[in-house]
Amino acid sequence: MKDTFDYEIGAKKSLLSFNFKELWRYRDLISLLVKRDYVAVYKQTVLGPVWFFIQPLITSIIFTLIFGNIANLAPEGKPPFLFFLCGQTFWNYFASCLTATSNTFVANASVFGKVYFPRLAVPISVVISNLLKFSLQFIMLVIVWMYYYFDGTYNIQVNLSLFLIPIYLVLMALMGLGAGLIISSLTTRYRDFTFLVGFGVQLLMWATPVVYHLDTLKTKSLLGYQFVKFNPMTSIMEASKFGFDCGGSFDPALLTYSAVFAGVLMLFGIVIFNRVEKTFMDTV
């Protein structure tokens, strides 16, 4: 009878003893955190969620002017605006997942220091609320795509790989979350990593075919092409553009590579996060 304790709090925890059952018990917390992120951001604004649309729309217009008209980076025969909007929408999802999860510990130190709940609930809620934001922008993307499809000026085909988009999203979420977890764990000790994320994500965008086309890069710089090809985000970015038939390419081998990379990154992220969450209050 004496040994029927529900759990034990001790100094050491094995590497992969992650308590998914507990996380599930806190699913209501996750949903309320998602709601908070969603509601709180646009409180006391007039336009509210319209900002979700304005941001990528205006960025894409600027990109069309600069990268499309001046630098000629948009692919031939495809609508440049659709090309840049598609790149923006997908890249934004990955980038916001990464930046928002990467400061989990530091931003929530005051809450984490006072009450226990599975810490992973916070980064997961971030990924979900970003998914909501993404889906709104995705609807906008589909509307723009349909406009070009029915307009007929450009030759745009319906493509079956469009149905793979949920998979791309999962892969991007895993990579963003995995990298975010690793970075947030490291920032508890060394704040240097906050600076790294700030400009690292920007640099990563140029190393990913967001505003250019992988084929364009191949013709202009073979070295750059070899380098960018092995960026795990590249195949996803290319494939999602391919899905909307506004440029891009579809490479199953590279996509598999990205999937494996995402899985490993996520696993690694959980292991580190799990280790740090127990004592981060002492060092944060």
């Binding site: 034990e8 001790g10 925890k13 949903s31 409180k43 709940f117």
Partner: protein, 426 residues
Amino acid sequence: MNKDVVIKVENLGKQYRLGEIGSGTFAGELARFIKNIRGKQADDLITDNDRTLQAKKGDIVWAAKDINFEVKRGEVLGIIGKNGAGKSTLLKMLSRVTAPSVGSIKVKGRIASLLEVGTGFHPDLTGRENIFLNGAILGMTKNEIRSKFDEIVDFSGVARYIDTPVKRYSSGMYVRLAFAVAAHLEPEILIVDEVLAVGDVEFQRKCLGKMKDVSSEGRTVIFVSHNMGAVKSLCQSGIVMKNGTMDFAGNINDCVSRYLKINTTENEGDVVIEKKGTGTGEALIKRIQLINEDGNTAESVLYKSPIKMRVYIDSSVTIPKASLDVKISDKDGSILFHALNIYHNQALPLQEGENIFETEIDNQLLPGGFLASIGVHNAATYYTMDYQENIIAFEVIKAAKNAADSYPYEWVVAPAMAKSDWKKIK
């Protein structure tokens, strides 16, 4: 039947590294990491826990050490101790905010901890939204919160403002709403830290009542507070913490008197002080004697006879006007009255070297045990040079100077009497 144990704490300890984390620690960490890989035990487990010593950078202290206790189902356990005794560290480990360095805590049932009220409140969200968010953070499900929502709003008394963002709330409303959510938690084990120190008197009473309800429902409560009255009325058993270790465990009444006497030495009536209390330390109280009418050390005070004390002070400065005060408290630590030379325009000079003062305090005390705190301050700047809290314990006995004046009853209804005048007018 033997009540079962819901929390079992074994050899619990927690160490902290002093100093800042910077580029220096990175090198230290690498060295430690390499040492660990090579299978050598890191040799940084030191035992010293004297916080007054000057710390070297990278030193490690034990904030809590060698803690062992058990809590049974339905028990209300009070944890008391001075600031820095390790109470908060223990609480943080119990509520899983941070992991211990050594030892373990075994728990049966759900723990909810209230180390602070309003954790996770978002200023831009309305009261309603925050009730749900805060409730979920504390471990409630949406359905649980929904079913208690009206009760929570009712308890907080902010029904009119429930759809207004909490940043518009007054601080009192904010705290009341926050406590209302916390008070409606229904975990098997509740950990509470000093949250009663908020709100006005009426609300505090409401909170105490709620805590009593919780414990009478048979749930386990661990309660940390400096309010000895609250601890005594709520808890059955207690733990006294001192310098990161358990000083005493047992019945709550014993704990409270033990805690209040932590400062006082065994040598009642004549206390020699080695450590500085609070204050600048320019002057140090070295010795306090309780004396009788003849000026000899006394262990107790006679009923209705003045309380006389002799205070020895070593000063490193010369001050024309020093103020000296004595606070008399009952054995629960509640202050009864305050004697200060300034009240009677009797500021005294303090010379460099040894000074001896004597005071005679009008004795309104009824028989019982009391504690006195003594301080020496600069009357011009108001700075406290040395203040020794609850440093001397003494007893007022029933016997008086004249046998006829002795205290006549078996019982005592209050710690002190009020001077009163009685006459018949009809």
